[in-house]
C-alpha cells in the first residue's frame, strides 16, 4: 500500500514539472512584449523597464524558468501588477470562500446524487428511473449561470426565501478569523450568523453542484445496475443472505468504485465552475478574483490561480485514488 502511494506521488512529479513549464510560458510567451501585454498600450517606459526586470527577461530562458520554479518552491507566486500585493497572500485570503462553496456543492452533488442513482437503479426503466433520468439530463444541460439566474429569480427576487449575493449579511457584523464564514459563525457562537451563512450558501452550492450531481447520479445508477447483474451477487443471494446485506455488502461495495473515481474527477469541474458561480452570486472567492484579474490583464494572478487549482485537483485525485485502492483490493497488487 505504502509502495502504491509512493509510486503515485512519484508519478505526479512529471505532471507538476509540465504544469510549471506551461504556466511559465503562459506569461513569458504572451503575444508581443509581455510588459506591454501586461501594462497595456499606454505604459510608461519606466514601468516597462520595471516589468522587464521583475520578469528577468534579460536572462536566458532556462535561467528564467529555474528562477520561477525556485520562487514557487519558496512560496513566491509573484505579485499583482495592479496593487503590488503578493499573489499567494490574496489567494489565501479568498480561498476559504471558494472552499466553502465547492465543499457545499460537493455535499449537495454526492448527498443527493448517490441516493437518487440507487433509487433509479432499483427499478430500471420504471417511472422513478424516468424522473431521475430527466433531472440528470437537465443537470448536465443547464449551464451554471442559467441555473443560477433562474434560482435567483425564483427564490430571491420572487419568493424572497434566500439571499442572492454575498456570503453573509454584512449587518450581522460577524468577526472573521478563519475567513470560513460558516466556521467563524460557529467559533463566534452566533447561531443567527450560522443560519444566515448557510442560507447564503444554498443557491450557489446548488448551481455549482448541479453538473457533478447529474453525473454522479448517472454513474451511480449505471454502476449499481452493472454490479446487480454480476455473478457474485447471484452467489450472495444463493447463499441465503438478506436483501439488505446483499445490497450493502455485495452490490454497493463494488458499485462504489467507479463512483469514487468520478467524484475525484468532478472536483476539477467544481473548481472550474466556481469561477462562473462566484461571478453569478458575487461570491468573494478565488473565482471572481480570477475573472477580475483577466479583465485587468493581471497575468500573475491568473497564472498562479490556475497553478494552485491544478495542484488542488491533483492532490484530491491522489487522495481519491488511494481511497480507491483501499476499496478495491485488486489494485494494491496490480
Amino acid at each position: 500500500m505504502l509502495k502504491y502511494i509512493l509510486r503515485r506521488l512519484i508519478g505526479a512529479i512529471p505532471v507538476l514539472i509540465g504544469l510549471s513549464i506551461i504556466l511559465f510560458l503562459f506569461v513569458r510567451l504572451l503575444p508581443g512584449d509581455p510588459a506591454i501585454a501586461i501594462l497595456g498600450q499606454h505604459a510608461t517606459p519606466a514601468l516597462i523597464l520595471q516589468v522587464h526586470q521583475s520578469l528577468g527577461l534579460d536572462l536566458p530562458i532556462y535561467v528564467q524558468y529555474l528562477n520561477y520554479v525556485g520562487g514557487l518552491l519558496q512560496g513566491d507566486f509573484g505579485a499583482s501588477f495592479i496593487n503590488g500585493r503578493p499573489v499567494l497572500e490574496d489567494f489565501l485570503l479568498r480561498f476559504p470562500a471558494t472552499i466553502e462553496l465547492t465543499v457545499a456543492a460537493l455535499i449537495f452533488a454526492v448527498g443527493l446524487g448517490i441516493p437518487l442513482g440507487r433509487l433509479a437503479a432499483r427499478h430500471p426503466n420504471g417511472w422513478l428511473d424516468g424522473i431521475v433520468t430527466v433531472i440528470s439530463l437537465f443537470g448536465i444541460s443547464v449551464p451554471i449561470f442559467v441555473l443560477g439566474y433562474t434560482m435567483v429569480f425564483i427564490f430571491a427576487v420572487q419568493l424572497h426565501w434566500l439571499p442572492a449575493t454575498n456570503q453573509i449579511d454584512a449587518r450581522l457584523q460577524l468577526p472573521l478569523r478563519t475567513n470560513f464564514v460558516v466556521i467563524d459563525a460557529i467559533l463566534a457562537g452566533r447561531p443567527d450568523a450560522l443560519v444566515d451563512a448557510l442560507k447564503h450558501l444554498v443557491l450557489p452550492a446548488v448551481a455549482l453542484g448541479s453538473i457533478p450531481f447529474a453525473i454522479i447520479t448517472r454513474i451511480t445508477r449505471a454502476s449499481v445496475l452493472d454490479v446487480t447483474n454480476e455473478d457474485y451477487v447471484r452467489t450472495a443471494r444463493a447463499k441465503g443472505l438478506t436483501e439488505r446485506r446483499v445490497d450493502s455488502r455485495h452490490i454497493m461495495r463494488n458499485a462504489w468504485l467507479p463512483v469514487t473515481t468520478i467524484i475525484g474527477l468532478e472536483v476539477g469541474g467544481l473548481l472550474g465552475g466556481a469561477v462562473i458561480t462566484e461571478t453569478v452570486f458575487s461570491w468573494n472567492g478565488v473565482g471572481s478574483w480570477v475573472v477580475d484579474a483577466i479583465q485587468n490583464h493581471d497575468y500573475f494572478v491568473v497564472q498562479s490561480s490556475i497553478l494552485i487549482f491544478a495542484l488542488i485537483f491533483l492532490v484530491v485525485n491522489l487522495v481519491v485514488d488511494i481511497g480507491y485502492a483501499f476499496l478495491n483490493p485488486r489494485i494494491r497488487y496490480a
Binding site: N229, E230, D231, Y232, R234, T235, A236, R237, A238, K239, G240, L241, T242, E243, R245, R249, H250, R253, N254, L257, L327, N328, P329, R330, Y333
Partner: protein
C-alpha cells in the same frame, strides 16, 4: 417421497423482443443422496430450471408461470421471500459456472464464508471462522488459516471453485445444484474438482443436480440423466442405461458429436445439423423436429410426452431402477443409434409443412 419433486415447471422471460419460452413444463424428481445429471446444449433451459428451483431467476424478466417445486414436501414456489432465503444456502445450495466471477472481488474469502455460515446459524464470528478454516481444509486448500485472509483474485480458478464448493457445503445442504461447475476450468483441474465434489457429497449424502453440456462429465458423476432440449426433457434414464441405449434422436446426436477413444478408425463424427430453435416462439410440435433425421410429418405438429421406452412398463421416477423414458414419435432403433443415422431403406425425414417442397412431386415411401 422424493427429496425434490418438480412438476410441470414453466418458466418464461418477458423481454424487449417478446416472450422467451425457456422451460416448457419440466417434471422430474430427485431422491435423498441421489445424483442427477441435467444435460443439453447452452440455452436449452437447464440453468434456468435450476435458477427457478432456487427462485433466483433474473427479475423482473424471468417468471415461473406454472408448475410446482417441492423440497421435502415444502412447496417452494409458495414460500415468502424470507422463508425462501432461509432455505437457500442451508437446505438448497448452488455452485455456479465461472469461479472467476462468482466470488465477490472486494471481500476476503473469510468474509464471504463467515457471512454464509452466520446467516443461517447462531455461531459467533470466531466459531464461524474456525468452521471456515476446517471447510477450506476439507476441500484441499493448503494453509487454510492464511489463505482465508486472501482475496479471490489471489486464487487460481480451480482453487476458487474449491472455495465455492466449501461455501456451498458449509451448512450441509440436502440438495446441491452445480451449474457447469468445471466448464471454465482447465481439463486437468476439472477432474480434481469433480472428484472432490463427488467425494464430499457422497460422504454427506447430499443430493446433487449436476448441470452440464458435457456428457463426459456426467458419465462418471451421476446415477441418472435428464436430457433437455429447448426447455423440454426429451429423454431420461439411469446413466449406464442411457449410454448403452440412447433412444432419442437428440441424445443419439449428442453422443455421436463427441469424439470417442474407442471409435473405429475413420468413423466420422456426425454433427447435429442446424441450430437450436428460436425460443421466442411458442413451441409447436416436437422442438427437435427441424434438426431431426428421423422426423415424421406428425413431428411437426405433435410434441409427444415422456413415455416409457418399453410401452406399458410401470414408471419408476428415481433411483438406479428409474424407467427409461423418452419423448419421441419415431425413436431410432439400436442399430440406427449405433450408426447415428436412419438405416430404414428409403426413409427421408418429413419436410416442414407448407414448405415449397410440398408442391414438388412427392413420393410415397412405405415405412
Amino acid at each position: 417421497m422424493a427429496l425434490l419433486e418438480v412438476e410441470g415447471l414453466l418458466v418464461r422471460f418477458r423481454t424487449h423482443d417478446g416472450t422467451v419460452y425457456a422451460v416448457n413444463g419440466v417434471s422430474f424428481q430427485v431422491d435423498e443422496g441421489e445424483t442427477l445429471g441435467l444435460v443439453g446444449e447452452s440455452g436449452c433451459g437447464k440453468s434456468v430450471t435450476s435458477l427457478a428451483l432456487m427462485r433466483l431467476l433474473p427479475k423482473p424478466a424471468g417468471r415461473v408461470e406454472g408448475g410446482r417445486v417441492r423440497l421435502d414436501g415444502t412447496e417452494l414456489l409458495d414460500l415468502t421471500e424470507a422463508e425462501m432465503r432461509d432455505l437457500r444456502g442451508r437446505e438448497l445450495a448452488m455452485i455456479f459456472q465461472d469461479p472467476m466471477t462468482s466470488l465477490n472481488p472486494v471481500l476476503t474469502i473469510q468474509e464471504q464464508m463467515v457471512e454464509t455460515i452466520r446467516a443461517h446459524t447462531q455461531l459467533t464470528a470466531e466459531q464461524a471462522t474456525a468452521r471456515a478454516v476446517e471447510l477450506l481444509g476439507t476441500v484441499g486448500i493448503p494453509r487454510p488459516e492464511t489463505r482465508l485472509k486472501a482475496f479471490p483474485h489471489e486464487f487460481s480458478g480451480g482453487m476458487r471453485q474449491r472455495v465455492m464448493i466449501a461455501m456451498a457445503l458449509a451448512l450441509h445442504p440436502r440438495l446441491l445444484i452445480a451449474d457447469e461447475p468445471t466448464t471454465a476450468l482447465d481439463v486437468t483441474i476439472q477432474a480434481q474438482v469433480l472428484e472432490l465434489l463427488r467425494d464430499l457429497t457422497a460422504e454427506a449424502r447430499t443430493a446433487v443436480i449436476l448441470i452440464t453440456h458435457d456428457l463426459g462429465v456426467v458419465a462418471g458423476m451421476t446415477r441418472r440423466i435428464n436430457v433437455m432440449y429447448a426447455g423440454y426433457i426429451v429423454e431420461t434414464a439411469p446413466t449406464a442405461e442411457l449410454f448403452a441405449h440412447p433412444s432419442h434422436p437428440y441424445t443419439v446426436g449428442l453422443l455421436h458429436s463427441i469424439p470417442r477413444l474407442d471409435a473405429v478408425e475413420g468413423e466420422p463424427l456426425i454433427p447435429i445439423e442446424g441450430t437450436p430453435p428460436d425460443q421466442r416462439h411458442a413451441p409447436v410440435g416436437c422442438p427437435f423436429a427441424p434438426r431431426c433425421a428421423w422426423r415424421l410429418p406428425a413431428c411437426w405438429t405433435t410434441n409427444p410426452p415422456l413415455e416409457p421406452l418399453v410401452p406399458g412398463t410401470p414408471v419408476v421416477l428415481t433411483g438406479d431402477r428409474a424407467t427409461h423414458r423418452l419423448a419421441c414419435l419415431n425413436p431410432p432403433t439400436a442399430e440406427e443409434a449405433e450408426a447415428g443415422l436412419p438405416l430404414r431403406e428409403g426413409f427421408v425425414a418429413a419436410p416442414a409443412p407448407g414448405s415449397i417442397v410440398d408442391e414438388l412431386a412427392t413420393v410415397e415411401v412405405p415405412a
